[in-house]
């Protein structure tokens, strides 16, 4: 499946007559997290609008993963608010949300794609079971229907139908990562967190995965936050870019503007350090 096929239905982002949504999907206000004297991330604020993809870039230790883990509820920020637009309830502070609700959110409206597919897959369960788990978690109890959806999703991530009963351990790294994406997107989440989704993959495999993610993100009108140190990844996927250094946001803006006309010294260094092929 290529980019054009999954764009068949009109894109959700910015529909014709009301392209500016009423409210952001996620609002981050003054989020800080530190371990003793060491700063994880400090005073981070931004808004993510429906259908938007934000890239967070920075070197190792810049706080981008800490921030992502705070946003996804894996870490509790020391201060700040993380507000999510709950269906029918408006913006709700995640820190005040009860755990059952947060966990339900994590397996329905949210998705988390780990850098290492082993962290995001059940390695002892078949590909079909991996994709079907989230469906079963929200109450799907019809085997044939679950399997049908699993097949559909394997096709969307370019995994052959005859691999549905194979365990991911027998898959290549790129296939595992594509399976992880299918497993996460099957419930039609509204917000996807991605932590270095192409890290650890061969360059040729990265390109295929990126193209695939781009098609899915654009086609489904997904909102996503992608953490990466790879500028090529954000150039392809992200509408907007947040550049972090030492736990703080040093620059933010439209992706191509930040990459082509970087203002902050660190961003200029980052952009000029990319090897030209």
């Amino acid at each position: 499946m290529s980019a054009q096929d999954c764009c068949e239905e009109p894109c959700r982002h910015f529909p014709e007559d009301a392209w500016r949504p009423e409210a952001p999907l996620l609002a981050v206000r003054g989020v800080s997290k530190s371990w003793g004297a060491r700063i994880g991330c400090a005073d981070v604020s931004f808004e993510l609008w429906p259908g938007e993809v934000i890239g967070i870039v920075g070197e190792s230790g810049s706080g981008k993963s800490t921030l992502l883990n705070c946003l996804a509820g894996h870490l509790a920020p020391d201060v700040g608010e993380i507000l999510f637009d709950m269906r029918g309830a408006g913006l709700v502070d995640m820190r005040r949300m009860a755990e059952p609700e947060r966990r339900r959110l994590a397996r329905t409206d949210w998705a988390f794609v780990h850098q290492n597919p082993r962290d995001g897959l059940r390695m002892g369960v078949s590909a079909g079971g991996n994709v079907g788990e989230r469906l079963m978690a929200v109450g799907a109890r019809h085997y044939a229907a679950i399997r049908g959806q699993a097949l559909d999703w394997l096709d969307r991530v370019e995994i052959a139908a005859d691999r549905i009963d194979d365990r991911p351990a027998s898959f290549s790294g790129g296939m595992q990562q594509r399976l992880q994406i299918a497993r996460n997107l099957v419930t039609g989440p509204r917000l996807v967190f991605m932590d270095e989704p192409t890290g650890g993959l061969d360059v040729s495999v990265q390109a295929r995965l990126l193209d695939l993610m781009r098609g899915l993100v654009r086609g489904m009108g997904l909102s996503a936050i992608v953490v990466t140190h790879d500028l090529a990844v954000v150039r392809l996927l992200a509408d907007r870019l947040i550049v972090m250094k030492g736990g703080r946001v040093v620059e933010a803006g439209l992706t191509d503007q930040v990459l082509d006309d970087p203002q902050h010294a660190y961003t200029q260094l980052l952009v000029s350090s990319v090897l030209q092929v």
């Binding site: 059940r122 078949s126 079963m136 978690a137 929200v138 109890r141 085997y143």
Partner: protein, 284 residues
């Protein structure tokens, strides 16, 4: 001094029994919920039914009549030694008759004859956590029980169908108790699952894992399944070579070196009962 006098009644000290009884009461109050308890060292290895023995020791009274079965049989090593253990330490009467027993300790079977109110069935449990197969973290499985996140149980059944074309789990088939907790019924054949909605009290003890759980009388026990792959408690269409029963659960027995085999009731008491009844009828 008789042998019985050398031990406290039923081997365990009264404080331990009180602790276990408290766990049992809690377990009965929250059907299917695994209650942690401080499992004691018993004079037998883990895996030989230490959990069941501790539960039996805690519910036993001097007037009880005890039956012990292993895979449905009263005469296997495990059943015989546990029965002797309680004869020696509690001096209670023992029986092999399901109908006459007030307490029945079992491994891997539920007796064929329906149990009645007032009887207690004690199960020996090796692994009490039904979610363990897919989620090894105890902290996580506890949370999943607490929040009723049971989708993973169906992943296990999905895997069965994907691999074997049907739900191939034939024993320790997971059940949902009173619409709330998902529970491992211990390694009984799924054939026995429907019997779990019974009049007797069912107590489950896992010694090594230090967990106790229970199903009170007349509690709803539903085997998990898919809409298009419903639960079936079926067995092969064979009948017992000894008593001719077509309804009971059968064991395969190899009878000679040439690979000759026969199928007989796994519940030895049930089988004997049917045979003696047939004799009586023939004589009468």
């Amino acid at each position: 001094m008789t042998e019985t006098d050398q031990y406290n009644f039923a081997y365990l000290d009264e404080h331990t029994k009180r602790m276990i009884r408290r766990a049992l009461l809690k377990a009965l109050a929250i059907p299917g919920y695994q209650v942690p308890f401080a499992s004691r060292e018993m004079p037998m290895p883990y895996g030989w039914g230490t959990g069941g023995v501790q539960v039996t020791a805690s519910v036993l009274t001097p007037n009880d009549s005890l039956k012990v079965i292993d895979q449905g049989a009263d005469d296997t090593t495990n059943a015989v030694s546990i029965r002797r253990f309680f004869q020696k330490t509690a001096g209670v009467s023992t029986t092999t008759r399901t109908t006459e027993a007030s307490v029945i300790q079992t491994r891997h079977r539920i007796p064929e004859d329906p149990l009645r109110e007032g009887q207690i069935l004690v199960y020996q449990v090796p692994i009490p956590e039904p979610l363990r197969f897919l989620e090894p973290r105890e902290t996580e499985t506890r949370k999943m029980h607490a929040l009723e996140e049971y989708g993973l149980m169906h992943v296990k059944l999905y895997e069965d169908i994907a691999r074997h074309g049907e739900i191939a789990t034939a024993y320790a088939y997971p059940v949902k108790v009173e619409g709330r907790y998902v529970m491992d019924p211990s390694p009984i054949p799924k054939f026995d699952n429907p019997k779990m909605e019974m009049a007797a009290i069912q107590l489950f003890g896992a010694g090594r894992e230090q967990r106790i759980y229970a199903v009170p009388p007349h509690t709803r026990v539903v085997s998990l399944d898919f809409e298009d792959h419903p639960f079936e408690a079926r067995k092969g269409g064979l009948s017992c070579a000894l008593c001719g029963s077509e309804e009971s659960y059968l064991d395969e027995v190899i009878v000679d070196d040439a690979g000759g085999r026969m199928f007989v009731c796994s519940d030895t008491d049930h089988c004997e009962g049917r045979r003696s009844q047939a004799c009586t009828e023939a004589e009468g």
